[in-house]
Subunit: 456 residues, 4 copies
């Protein structure tokens, strides 16, 4: 039997490759699909079907290209939208995979036409639930994607789906959702890589809510919606262009890079201290590990993107961006910032301050203006920073006028997101920006006489 | 500096990736070009140019797809033909690759518009000769591709090219040809992976010939011309379709395979003893390592091809065939012959006999009819087989009427090619065929009282 | 979080790598442990502990070497035996892995000192049970390893362990056993790669048994015990010698191979049809995929082993054998059987017959003597073969006198095990042996007028 | 045929794997020898001999471990030293590798007992010269390793070896030395990856010298001698301990790392800007690509080493250091500097200035003290820096008293070596150090009105 979960890091996306007796099914494939082919091939399986759980909004689905390479049939959920490819799944529809049987369950809540799939073992008993964006480890799917005005309706549907269709499958059923911790598709997904209905029934806060109305009150909330969702939703109904073969970004020597940079966005994926110390003037900082969460907020689709990595292979970055529909990465800085400097070019710098240094500075009576870019949830959970301006990172670009035009110390949880924000503000004309290295996590690790964080 | 030779096994094709200071050139890329991208990328080089030495006839050139993925410019030789892509190279044209300089030399002989390329080092001295199909290790390019009627003319041009343009570069210059031992593009290329003008001047038989006329007499010979050359020549002028993403052949369970096999050609790439012992009725045998040399003689472009491998990953086979333009491999037998048998299906068998057993058999006075499928050159060099019918493997399909309709013992050098021929004849109705395992090489290793081989 | 199951194919052995916040634990590592290091390293985890569930009898455990390379502490169960390494686990002992907690549960039944480990999630609730050889998917651990005289006692303990210690953990708990389908450590483990207590409670036949005494009656059975178990049990208490660096078997040209073969055992791992068609005289056949199940029955520890593969890389075979303590693979046949034949050497052959051919042969009135080497369980489940001598493959070597000294048709499920037996009998002087290709599975796939199999 | 050059980057070391007809030879293997085994195995070759060209001083040779894993015989040169392993090579000794023949030539000059090896092709003609540290591309071996007092004697021997033994082999012979550009074993080796006697005869400055005495005058020069040479020389005669299995450094969370750092050396291999911006107090900077050239100058053998990488896999660094005999890398900072900061720990910083900024600063009339750490050769070739103190990087640690105790701007060619020196000086108490990012290469790329560099 073939039972593999393929994780796309960054996006915290899970897809699944299930097979028996030479036949395999892929559920919610990502766009760069070589991995499904290689694994199926190596194990002697033919990918016969591609099943989608819903119209995804946070990544480009790879169904069309995978089908073209294997001859698989595509089955899409959410058929209320005008799909240009595949066939719609019907509630209760079944597929055979060798001796196994998969059955679709209509599971509205996150989207109206969401489909979950139950895998039955050889005895016919329910064994695994592919729960898409309905039920996650420690969380449930967000209900606001059709607009806040429909969130209550969708939350009610979600409650019904979970209680009427999923929980009755039994505690022992393994739950395989479409996302793990770190996804933007559900609030507070926990890091529990494998889970079951029984575990979720006991440990998932959303399943502790006692009534439908209480559930609606709690889960009809509006979450942040990165701008790139709109493009993903369109692409995933239209069917995205093929990703293979991947166009390789051109390595550009420093002076050529500088010329191209005039009409492009420069994206620097190095870690925060390297970026702060020296970067191409005007570059936007998003560290490599943060691309899945932040690229969709800040990167354009209609302008070429140039990369600054640490002088190493840019292809993993290109691949992560392509999963979010960014096919506009055209070049990268050959030799990295080292080459930039040996070409005699000037670079920009931003300041960083460690937590102990900042403590000393405050202890000496200084009171710099502080911008806190943590999310609302973090502020609520960890406490606010005294006298700080709070503006979540995801709102900075849209609310620049809310940011004081003055020297700022920028706080987030660790210093990574602060660096993104510092790079944004620098592009908009701010000067004398200082990133707090270590952020609030660093602050709570030291015993500074200044109690900066007001506990919630 | 980047200086890599990429060998495509099977075809014994050499391509080259040369780079300096971020810029790289590829010479004669193969069709599946990921390797150039990966190596250039990892070393921080941008592939700026693709250079072809000539219109290749034995493999599909990868220039068009590589250019599409990198933005490189394509330069083709043999511009007397109506290329639909790239720009023609002019004699003496130069390219800079970082601090290096490449210069084209018109080198007619194998084709009329062949270009060789001389790489000069930083001091400007000639350093490496990319000799295409002009000069090989121990051999020279064949001169008969425009037809035997022009072979003498071409051989004369080849002599002039070598003596007037290549040898004067100096003994120390490294020679990097487009093929190594085993290629069908030159007779008797030797296995000398790196060579120089000096070594060739001393050791290459073609450079020992004392006069132009003697050279023409010796090298205006007609060599075998596999049927697929015609298609390669056309594709390489038109520009072949992209190979990426590779379409994966469908793993077919035995009964589905049997159904598909009715309208397809079944190609079995296992080693000879496995094939002889049991194969899908009607299957053609070409062992994996022999595909480069023999697929182009026996495989159709206009019929689907189904594979029988040893139950393992068929993709390497698919890739080798794609290099020869075979994009029609649609399926493979899932589980191999083991699955075929457990599905209760019948298989065909052919006989094999070891050399010691055959010796005993002959010694007992038996005199089976023998078919010798070695090449003319082998027969000349190693001697003929007494009382055997000699018909080179490459002529069998066209001259079936020359093969006696009777039980046959089939000899080649080792047993591999005999098995191809046995599979061919079996498809045409022959019965009681026996492959001599070990072939003439085996025969010369034993001391059998029967002296089967008549030394030349 | 790091949660990886590492499967050792062939042995159907599962080990686990669990980590949180830079600290990791490995449970039941295999001997070639690079994979744990690579995965931990890549994810930034330090392997701090190695936990053994019991003294394994079917493979060499890799604790000692893994600890030497990482500084990890080793914890062994079954401390009633005189371990020369590590520290004994106490019932109830706990380990912290970042924010997670693992707790030992004494779980006697398969061995007296078996330990299972419960992983609790961040909330403290039981989440995953590492059940060692106590509870498998669809099966339970065998109880006869201390001798049949103690099997009833052990079966009673196993019943108590399951009912008193494991089932109370709750249906939702994920069960991670030490073996999957195909292992020799439990009868009839099913192919359900991920399972839970709830699923096992409903679907595992051993958990349907209504009383302790009925359980004992059913599960105090004696299973087959491969001879290599004894050596594994000793090595795993003593601590095995390091496997790294792996000594590479010498590629031997045919004549050197033939010389070495005089004092060695020749093991041929090719598929059955290739072996039947031609093999080194005296070679033992075990196809590559069957090594985990059969090598321990037939291979010696005190004689050098020489390999015949299909001419390809023998290292994967060497690695599988090393997992079973076979460090005596000294050479392999360079170039495979093809080279053997071209060296003019003679090979042995055995006959194979497809099911349709055998059907015709029987239909013509022939009645060959049949040897059926399937297991007792298969015969019981699928039915016996009419007029056949039944002797399970694992008993053939010890009961040669029960095998008639005459021409035989050998049946197993598919033809693979029959080939092992044919090679064994051939070494012992039998002649005119015929393997039925496809075996009983093939037979039940055809409509032959001869009804060979008597349904149970 | 097998003909592979294996390059160990960093050390610019070339080893060779040569094989024919199943037998292979390795020349000058590196310590981590899996690559030889894998390539030989894949191609079906048995490594029968390991040949050393001389007692190496710049890396640990891998002969002993490779022999232990393959059964190969070891042949060492320089038998005037008391080798504890292998057999001494005699001048003129020959080895057969399949159909090829290798012959030793005594080639004194770099060491007294240096052996070069000539590979003859099938015709018996010299084909390839494995020239060890005798003849390099564009350079020759250094002659000062026995002490400057014997350098003239050795230079004379080197002249004789080249002129009497190597050049007569003929222009067409391919030269395969033991090092490429970047090695510390010869001055000014050029980046010409493949070369010949003919090319060297024309382009190698050492072969243009007209007389033996002029050669001695020019090449009896003393070059820098990294302190680690002494240990390498001893290990390579004694036979080094095995490297496999590699001990993996423990990932240490920040606070544990800080504790261990009290008794260890912290080595930070990140690029210069990241190091300058923030590093563990007291850390030594050597960027990853510079380890081969600089680790041997600054790292201790008798103290544990802790790594700070960019948060990624430290194993490649461990491997490069192991090649230089550093088996004392015990830990690395888990999570990199990002984790350091979120643990609330303080870090140190150094200043960097780009070339344009420095230009402006100078143009405003400032005259900072400058320390130039380029090599003597660079200063000679590129010109000195006006008013700068010149002290080559390799002399800084031994001549701290020559470095003014004051704020310094530190120059090298690019900023990498300056960062090493800045980290060294910071450890010794210097403050207000500024690294010039881009260095002299950056300076010569801009048009600054201040002409800082005085052309030679």
């Amino acid at each position: 039997m073939l039972f593999e979960r393929i994780e796309s890091e960054g996006l915290a996306h899970y897809s699944y490759l299930i097979g028996d007796t030479n036949e395999a099914i892929v559920i919610d494939p990502r766009r760069d699909g070589d991995i499904y082919l290689e694994r199926a091939e190596r194990a002697g399986f033919h990918i016969a079907h591609v099943l989608e759980t819903h119209r995804n909004e946070d990544y480009v689905i790879g169904s069309v290209e995978l089908a073209a390479r294997t001859g698989a049939e595509i089955w899409h959920a959410d058929s209320q939208w005008p799909y240009s490819y595949g066939q719609p799944v019907e509630d209760g529809q079944t597929w055979s995979v060798g001796g196994l049987r998969l059955q679709a369950i209509h599971a509205p809540g996150h989207t109206p036409g969401m489909m979950n799939y139950v895998l039955h073992d050889a005895t016919g008993a329910p064994w695994v639930l592919f729960s898409g964006d309905t039920l996650f480890a420690g969380s449930v799917g967000r209900t606001d994607l059709l607009g806040t005005e429909r969130a209550e309706e969708m939350a009610g549907l979600l409650y019904d789906t979970i209680h009427d269709a999923l929980l009755p499958l039994g505690d022992g059923v393994i739950v395989c959702p479409a996302h793990g911790a770190g996804s933007v598709c559900g609030a507070a997904i926990v890091d529990r890589p494998w889970t079951t209905i029984g575990i979720e029934r006991q440990a998932n806060p959303a399943l502790q809510v006692s009534s439908r109305s209480a559930f609606i009150a709690r889960y009809a909330q509006a979450l942040e919606r990165p701008p790139y969702f709109t493009r993903m939703e369109r692409l995933n109904v239209e069917g995205p262009p093929p990703i293979s073969p991947l166009r390789v970004p051109t390595p550009l020597p420093p002076k050529a890079f500088a010329r191209e940079a005039e009409r492009a966005l420069v994206l620097d994926t190095r870690m925060e201290v390297a970026f702060l110390a020296s970067h191409v003037p005007g570059a936007l900082s998003i560290w490599r590990g943060g691309l899945g969460r932040f690229a969709g907020w800040f990167l354009p689709y209609d302008r070429p993107i140039l990369l600054v990595t640490d002088g190493e292979d840019p292809l993993p970055v290109v691949r992560v961006l392509a999963r979010m529909g960014y096919d506009n990465v055209v070049g990268h800085l050959a030799g990295g910032m080292h080459a930039w400097h040996t070409a005699g070019l000037d670079s920009a710098t931003l300041s960083g301050v460690t937590v102990p240094s900042l403590c000393t500075y405050l202890d000496e009576g200084n009171r710099p203006a502080i911008l806190d870019v943590r999310s609302d949830a973090e502020v609520q959970e960890e406490g606010a920073i005294r006298d700080a301006q709070h503006l979540p990172i995801t709102q900075v670009a849209q609310h620049l006028d809310a940011v004081p035009r003055q020297p700022l110390h920028i706080f987030c949880g660790s210093g990574s997101r602060s660096t993104i924000v510092a790079s944004l503000l620098e592009r908009e004309g701010w000067r004398n920006l200082t990133v707090v290295l270590g952020g609030t996590r660093g602050w709570t690790s030291v015993s500074c006489p200044i109690d900066l964080v007001q506990r919630a």
